[in-house]
Symmetry: C2
Subunit: 230 residues, 2 copies
């Protein structure tokens, strides 16, 4: 009896699905706050901005948590999705780099409420080290490894200038961090087992600019659009 087919377990959740689970979780939270106790895939999909078939398939990877003819129990589904994402525990996080963005993240409450706890702030600017930001005292860069090991930090957030991002990343990884969220505009090279995700607002704007430009050019020269495409 092969189990290759069955991926209901922990094994085969597609990456694309994982990326959407947090969105579902957020939508479920909102619905819960509104007092909704049961929701159909159609309604939840609308709240999350996706196709309902896709939503059902996504949820089916976690197991059969819905009731046919009824829908999904909001609280129960919140629990199951949270568990799948590993949010039933609090993940300690360190932020390296306390420029404007680092400050903003340190003060942002959105993390704490969702299974994350910012446990340490690190910077190498003497003017910033020792100051208190968001209830934490900024540590010097020398103490990076010590902080990571002592607090058992698994997730590091990099908000440094691009020039030092790779160096900081290497040190985080060497100290035991397994996942990195990179806000610096640079490509990070990491070992196989380390997960990196990046956030780059400049890139997002450039993608928007591309679409804007296309709109403009087709508006201005409808006749020549196919020839010049300017």
């Amino acid at each position: 009896m092969r189990d290759g087919q069955r991926r209901t377990g922990r094994q085969g959740i597609p990456e694309a699905t994982v990326a959407r689970l947090p969105i579902y979780l957020r939508a479920l939270g909102t619905l819960g706050d509104e007092g909704v106790s049961t929701v159909s895939s159609e309604a939840l999909a609308a709240a999350a901005g996706v196709n309902s078939a896709k939503l059902r398939k996504d949820l089916s990877y976690l197991g059969s948590y819905g009731t046919r003819g009824v829908g999904y129990d909001v609280d129960y589904l919140v629990y199951q999705v949270s568990r799948e994402l590993g949010l039933t525990q609090d993940w300690p996080v360190v932020i390296v780099g306390l420029g404007h963005l680092g400050h903003a993240l340190a003060n942002y409450g959105g993390f704490t409420t969702r299974g994350f706890a910012i446990r340490a702030l690190v910077d190498n600017d003497p003017a910033v080290v020792g100051t208190e930001v968001g209830g934490l005292v900024v540590q010097p860069l020398d103490r990076l490894e010590q902080v990571v090991e002592t607090l058992g930090v698994a997730i590091g957030v990099i908000t440094t200038p691009a020039a030092v991002a790779q160096d900081v990343c290497d040190r985080l990884v060497a100290a035991g961090v397994g996942s990195v969220l990179n806000f610096a505009p640079s490509v990070l090279v990491v070992p196989e087992h380390v997960e990196v995700r990046k956030v780059d607002m400049s890139i997002e704007l450039q993608i928007l600019a591309f679409h804007e430009q296309r709109k403009v050019s087709s508006d201005l020269t409808p006749d020549l659009a196919k020839v010049v495409g300017k």
Copy 2:
């Protein structure tokens, strides 16, 4: 002679390719600063962290700008990619919501250097309106439409709380904004012709948590590793 095959024109650039062009552009910029004048697809791909075949295919959608046996001219390619992304002009941007994140973005220099100009800041908190941030005076929310229309803003950045994000978005769109970058943790509903991209750090962290959790659970049960696929 059919040209259905030929998508070298402006028409058919895959979305996945568009999303990578800014990364290539950044890598090219770095290479240019280092004095490199010609680069092979292999080298550029390494700098951008992608497969070289993918890079070549991506660039081929823009046209044949390389020289076989030699590589790509850095400056020329920078120009071509910039042009394709619509970065040869400066796009005026408005930021709505000046909390910690809005402040950080307003002070971030990375945009300005890449074809974007933050032209206005808007908020509805009387304590913030009228103050100067990053060289601009914060405008009251009432003036949102006026600001957008006067400055010809095409791109809006939303850094408000989730509760008002949809409302702000609607007003931006009504005033003529065609592209929105949303930092608020909410799903925005917009008309067909409007482009939305979202940045949500909380979601990124949750995706990382998922992978961390998987690592941890397979560490705990090393004997089951081959079953779980650690």
